[in-house]
């Protein structure tokens, strides 16, 4: 047997050097004994290291990461397992990537246990403040990890606590940091850490953030295994917290509802929204009421009511279908792709959007969620009919000389006529309230059409908007 003695720290690097040498020399796994620092000497002595071979030794990057992690495990067999894997990989590279292979599976499990232990060390180290005579504050902790993770786990603390000195003592070694690199020393006796007033505050926090009406101790034990409890300042409170919980819940139940202090209703009376809606006296008041609209069910899923925008004394009103995704989020009409197309076309027709009133027939977004996106849905007749209430109020206050209906939904909302748009586009119809309504395409239709037909539709939209301009000028 060839015996390889591994050091206390920088173990993985030592293993890697030896393993490269031994695989290169063609030494099979069963001929090697890997010895950790505390391992007993071999009774029968060992063979000398063979001379280096000339075989090229290769490994994948993923395997080296896995092996490095496994090297921190406390299982004495780990060295021969990663050596065996390296040995096999020289003739069968593919097996490293097969999670169903028993050896890879075992290494994955060892690595997982190490990663978990490192994660728990990051979670459960508790520093005590130590007296310091320099400008940097000083802290110390005692921690008992399951594996040999001191070196793997401590760079985390150096990054996080760069502005303080700290030491973490464990049964297998000590890590010290004073602002530069971490120094590792062999284990010493457990240090006496001074009382720290903040540990008392921490216990107060721990006891009070606990909800006695929810007891789920299994979840607690699986994530905070009992083996770590002895060095945590808060865990000794747990038995008392649990013992006390039923009494506290019972007391809540018996106490039941309490009488509100007298001032409470006075406070809320001043900030509550009025419940009844009286008919709005101004356009602004109408907008405020519409913001709380629940006339149809669209308000439950949509973000907000998207009210009209523009000049309240405008002679021209443009009515679209309903807000889309962008409009719903921002609360402003015609800001999405269709809105941009409309604004461009308006500019071409010499119509200033700020001097018109832009709004929608339906003021809430209708959609179906698909993963992270919301797919637009055309509003149904009941939505349009319910929302006509607001459109009517809006039209009453703005009192435009001409209204342009963009698309079928707006045309129906304004005229009550549901016949197909193809025959009506470019024509003026009487609105339900008597005002003239010019019918045209909705810009979103243009965005959906194939290029050749889109260009034609866009030309028609432009022609209709120009016609609107001429009608207003006349």
């Amino acid at each position: 047997m060839i015996r390889v003695d591994l050091p206390r720290f920088d173990r993985f690097e030592a293993w890697r050097d030896a393993a490269r040498h031994l695989v290169g020399a063609g030494i099979a796994p069963e001929r090697i004994t890997w010895a950790d620092p505390d391992a007993p000497a071999d009774l029968f002595g060992s063979d000398p290291m063979p001379p280096a071979g000339d075989a090229k030794v290769t490994a994948t990057k993923d395997f080296l990461t896995l092996a490095r992690t496994v090297a921190s495990h406390s299982d004495p067999e780990r060295w021969s397992l990663i050596y065996t894997a390296l040995w096999r990989a020289q003739t069968d590279r593919a097996f490293l990537g097969n999670p169903a292979d028993p050896l890879i599976d075992r290494l994955n499990r060892l690595a997982k246990s190490v990663r978990r232990d490192i994660h728990k060390m990051h979670a459960f180290v508790r520093f005590h403040e130590l007296p310091s005579d320099g400008p940097r504050r000083s802290f110390g902790a005692w921690f008992e990890p399951e594996h040999l993770i001191l070196q793997a786990a401590t760079p985390f603390f150096a990054k996080r606590f760069a502005d303080m000195d700290w030491l973490i003592a464990t049964p297998k070694g000590i890590a010290r940091f004073t602002g530069d690199t971490i120094a590792y020393d062999p284990p010493a006796t457990r240090p006496d850490l001074p009382e720290d007033a903040n540990h008392g505050l921490w216990q107060t926090y721990f006891a009070n953030i606990f909800n006695p009406a929810r007891i789920k101790t299994n979840a607690m034990r699986s994530e905070m295994p009992v083996k770590y409890w002895k060095n945590l300042p808060e865990t000794h409170l747990i038995p008392q917290m649990l013992a006390d919980a039923p009494r506290r819940v019972q007391a809540m139940r018996e106490a039941g509802a309490s009488d509100a202090p007298a001032f409470a209703s006075k406070v809320t009376a001043r900030i509550r929204q009025p419940l009844e809606d009286t008919p709005p006296e101004t356009l602004a008041q109408a907008q405020e009421q519409a913001a709380r609209c629940t006339r149809c069910e669209l308000c439950h899923a949509a973000t907000q009511t998207v009210w009209g925008l523009g000049d309240p004394d405008a002679r021209l009103m443009l009515v679209g279908e309903a807000p889309g995704d962008h409009e719903d989020l921002s609360g402003r009409p015609f800001v999405g792709p269709a809105g941009q197309l409309l604004r461009q076309t308006m500019a071409q027709a010499d119509i200033d959007p700020d001097r018109a009133w832009l709004t929608n027939a339906v003021k809430h977004f209708r959609f179906t969620p698909r993963g992270k996106r919301r797919m637009h849905q055309t509003p149904d007749r009941p939505h349009i009919e319910q929302c006509r209430w607001w459109l009517g109020i809006e039209r009453g206050f703005v009192a435009p000389d001409l209204t342009v209906a963009l698309g079928a939904t707006a045309a129906f909302a304004l005229t009550g006529d549901r016949t197909p748009l193809t025959l009506r586009r470019g024509k003026v119809q009487a609105g339900l309230d008597g005002g003239p309504v010019l019918i045209t395409w909705h810009p979103s239709l243009i965005l959906r059409l194939p290029d050749d037909r889109a260009a034609a539709a866009r030309a028609e939209l432009l022609a209709d908007l120009r016609q609107a301009g001429r009608m207003l000028a006349a």
Partner: protein, 425 residues
């Protein structure tokens, strides 16, 4: 207007004398009904370039309380004085709970001292509404700014956004906080209007829309090619109370799905309605529906990582509620047996994800292992599949479920757990 300060003067005359310890007790007790605890998914940063702290790796849970919730952040209220009267909340104006208020310096110091002792990942700051939404939000932003700017704090900060606060305050909050959240509180607008009359569902949603737009704007380069400052890099989350109103699980999941798609939330937290001291007559105290909460989280996972949509999960049971006895994926599979058994040798990733007992990691491993040859029963066991669940739903070279898939007693194979649970749940 009656202000919190007057309430203070009238009702808690000795507040000024409260010790830090007493304030911490009151203001952490007041914060515990918020389930959110995440501290992951933000920008990677650490203190080697100055300041204190690090973030950006996996979140760390520094402790667990016996209620099964993790402690990752110092979760406290700035104050539990509140002018709102939300029936489900211990801090509502009509409650007689003890009141306290931290100074901004106290919050900053507690955060830093706990942080230095490795007890927390950072701060989750929320507050009762005092005086006005703007004033409250302004104070919270000031605390976050002190931590970031005065102390170079690189740890995690989660701020609860006050829905009616001005957009410029929310914009500033996004510069200092990793995460912003607004709680929708209840799954249906009608229940919120009834139980939280000062809150408005539309302003809550508008606040979430603002955060989404703020995040998107921060990702776009300006015309000079400069990147704008980061805005809430860990995204936003929200919370719904489960069991305080009549919403079914199907309603709840539909609401979640609207929220995920509309505001790109990182998480929706479900919080089983829990009895509070000093309860409101408007909401009778119940035993918190913990199993229902658990099933909702499982269903939420199915929506986010397994390609299920709310409707198909909700439709698995005619009541619109999730089956408490079996997990929602198994319930869906039992209701859709026509799609099974799945042949593991050639099934698509999407279909493998729908097999009960296969998690996302297991499916990843199956796909990797298929490249090296047929996957057999023992391989699946090794790769983490829960074969006791998967058996009726898969075929393998060395396994066929036969009549098991369509057997009438299949649900009963998995359901006996219900009887055990009902003793407690």
């Amino acid at each position: 207007m009656m202000l919190a300060g007057n309430i203070n003067g009238t009702y808690i005359p000795d507040m000024a004398q409260r010790t830090l310890d007493q304030k911490l007790a009151i203001l952490s007790d007041a914060a515990k009904y918020d389930a959110s605890c995440a501290s992951s998914g933000t920008t990677r940063r650490d203190s080697r370039s100055g300041g204190i702290g690090s973030a950006g790796g996996t979140g760390i849970c520094h402790a667990y309380t016996p209620d099964g919730r993790c402690i990752s952040l110092l979760k406290i209220l700035m104050t539990n004085f509140c002018i709102y009267d939300c029936a489900y909340c211990i801090n509502r104006v009509s409650s007689n709970v003890e009141r306290a208020r931290f100074s901004p310096e106290e919050v900053v110091n507690l955060t830093l001292e706990f942080y230095r002792r490795n007890m927390i990942e950072g701060l989750f700051l929320s507050s009762g509404i005092i005086r006005s939404p703007d004033q409250t939000m302004g104070d919270m932003v000031r605390i976050a700014k002190m931590l970031r700017v005065d102390h170079g704090f690189k740890g995690y900060i989660h701020l609860k956004t006050i829905p009616d606060a001005g957009p410029e305050l929310v914009a500033e909050a996004g510069l200092y906080a990793d995460r912003l959240s607004v709680n929708v509180e209840l799954p249906q607008d009608a229940s919120l209007r009834q139980l939280a009359p000062e809150k408005r569902p539309e302003t809550i949603r508008a606040a979430m829309a603002d955060v989404r737009l703020g995040r998107e704007a921060a990702k776009e380069k300006t015309f000079t090619g400069k990147r704008p400052p980061r805005f809430a890099p860990a995204g936003q989350s929200t919370q719904m109370i489960v069991g305080a109103d009549g919403a079914t699980d199907r309603d709840i999941l539909k609401t979640s799905s609207n929220l995920y798609s509309g505001y790109h939330l990182k998480r929706v937290y479900y919080s089983a309605f829990s009895p509070i001291p000093d309860a409101s007559a408007a909401l009778p105290l119940i035993k918190p529906p913990l199993m229902r909460e658990h099933r909702l989280y499982q269903a939420d996972w199915l929506m986010r990582f397994y390609g299920f949509d709310a409707e198909e999960i909700g439709a698995a049971h005619p009541s619109g509620n999730l089956d408490l006895a079996v997990d929602p994926k198994l319930a869906w599979a039992l209701a859709n047996r026509g799609q099974f058994p799945v042949d593991v040798r050639n099934a698509s990733r999407d279909m493998l994800l729908r097999v009960p007992g296969f998690g996302t990691k297991t499916v990843g491993r199956i796909l990797a292992a298929r490249r090296s040859g047929a996957v057999r029963y023992a391989d699946l066991l090794r790769m983490g599949a829960i074969m006791s669940k998967a058996q009726p739903f898969v075929t393998l070279p060395d396994w066929h479920p036969g009549a098991l898939t369509d057997s009438d007693s299949l649900r009963a194979r998995f359901a006996p757990a219900l009887e055990q649970l009902s003793l407690f749940g």
